[in-house]
Symmetry: C2
């Protein structure tokens, strides 16, 4: 029989193990159970007839030969990926599978317009969407689960390249005739205590809004938070407070059937919408092309 080669799976698992030095964690990173992972590592060891890891001590140690093999394994897997790249380069750009992460404060405002346009311009594109907060889509991207993410900047990210698409200005939003504020003539710092409503922690919009409105004291911020823009708007409509809404949301029907009015903030009160991908990704060209398709809404 032909010489038995290690499988990609076994090598991927082993490389994960070398990185995490922990079976359980490496297994998790590979999205398999720990037993399945352990078995795969054992298979690899028995196939190569070599001990790759020391499990003697409390901690996992990769043997010397294990390290050498991990290095070569990375090479082999990279070669495999190059096969994919060659195949993809041969195709039209933006065709085939592409997984895009979008944060919840962008998705409902940009996607309804973007998706039909993409479908029309790139009919062979098989888009997979994942909506989650910045931290989560970033992690998924770095793990290779997502190809590219559409998020709001600034955001502290490492190992990425990004393209800034456009500014998204913040607007003050309050109920018409609010007892809290006169929208035509107000000073943030004169707002009553706890009258600024924001999204709950984890949403970058919370931080961006805070930074945009240049609030001095967190006392102005309500302890009550909303878990979605929709809820937030409902709270403002009930005059429980005021908030700051990104411009792209204004052109949606988020504020329809409410008594909320909005006023622009100062010109430098904005978040930036950006497309972000892993540094050195082989699909950079495609991402730039994709970026060109993403326009601020309603202009």
């Amino acid at each position: 029989m032909r010489l038995n080669l290690p499988t990609n799976r076994q090598l991927q698992y082993f490389i994960a193990l070398e990185k995490h030095r922990h079976f359980g964690k490496a297994a998790e990173a590979c999205f398999v159970s720990q037993p399945a992972f352990s078995v795969a590592i054992q298979e690899l060891e028995s196939l190569l007839n070599v001990q790759l890891v020391d499990r003697n001590k409390k901690q996992v140690t990769i043997t010397a030969i294990g390290k050498a093999i991990a290095t070569q394994a990375r090479l082999a897997l990279t070669d495999m990926e190059v096969i994919i790249d060659i195949a993809r380069e041969n195709q039209q750009p933006l065709s085939g599978h592409l997984s895009l992460g979008v944060i919840p404060t962008i998705a409902p405002f940009l996607l309804p317009e973007l998706l039909p346009r993409l479908r029309k311009s790139f009919p062979k594109l098989d888009l997979f969407l994942h909506e989650d907060q910045t931290e989560r889509v970033y992690e998924l991207m770095m793990q290779g689960q997502l190809d590219v993410i559409l998020i709001a900047l600034p955001y502290r990210l490492r190992g990425v390249e990004s393209l800034s698409l456009f500014r998204d200005n913040f607007h003050l939003a309050c109920r018409k005739g609010s007892r809290l504020i006169d929208p035509e003539n107000y000073v943030i710092d004169n707002l009553p205590e706890e009258s600024v409503l924001l999204l709950e922690d984890g949403h970058c919009l919370r931080d961006h809004a805070l930074s945009a409105c240049k609030i001095r004291s967190l006392d102005k911020v309500s302890k009550i938070t909303a878990s979605s823009l929709l809820t937030l708007v409902q709270m403002v409509d009930a005059d429980l407070g005021v908030t700051f809404i990104p411009e792209m949301a204004l052109h949606s029907n988020l504020l329809k059937h409410t008594h909320i009015i909005t006023r622009p903030l100062a010109k430098n009160s904005f978040r930036e919408i950006g497309l972000v991908w892993r540094k050195g990704s082989r699909r950079t060209k495609e991402f730039k092309l994709l970026a060109g398709q993403i326009q601020p809404k309603g202009e």
Copy 2:
């Protein structure tokens, strides 16, 4: 999910297809059925979303992109093999799996002594033996089915390296008191017609013996042939003819309980025993070590 890579299997199949330009033959070379093979190629095409082969015409043609991918695939598989090599280099030489091909006119005379010696010196060696004629073991070796072969030289081979181990002299063998020949004083060319018995075609011993005895005319050679040395000896014992026996066979019990006597031929009447492997094999060192273990019998 993590980016799906092509499997080694798919790449191996595709490389075979690129070589044979024929689904059925490539499948056979991979030791799978044609449907399984076809399915694997289709899987690869669908995974890469690229057409690798043109099946339009009567003949299979690899597309341009297919050729590029085949090249990269060979790279990737070589990397995989290097993993195996690294693992093996780390082990003792002559340990783990080794498949050895031996021809039938050597195996019964050298192996009974060789195998116990190997088992003792290299207890971790897991030897797989295959006995067949030179042409066949050579083919199996070139296909990667066998690592190394033990055969008689000279033999026309391409793409191999070899190590000559020792000379194996031919001896005349005839029944004691044969009516055909006086073993103490004979001339080959005076032998009666069809009195030289040889193995059937395909056995290299037939050609080596013919060349060793320097026979002038094929008229001396019997039309009756034997398919094994044992049969040949029985025929000589029945005084149906004479033959030429390699020295290693004399020290076996092949001639026990027969009335056959043997006489050395001229000094330059010999075949050479050699160990042969694929050119550039990464296990060359081991093969040379193995060669050192193979001794002429009974000296």
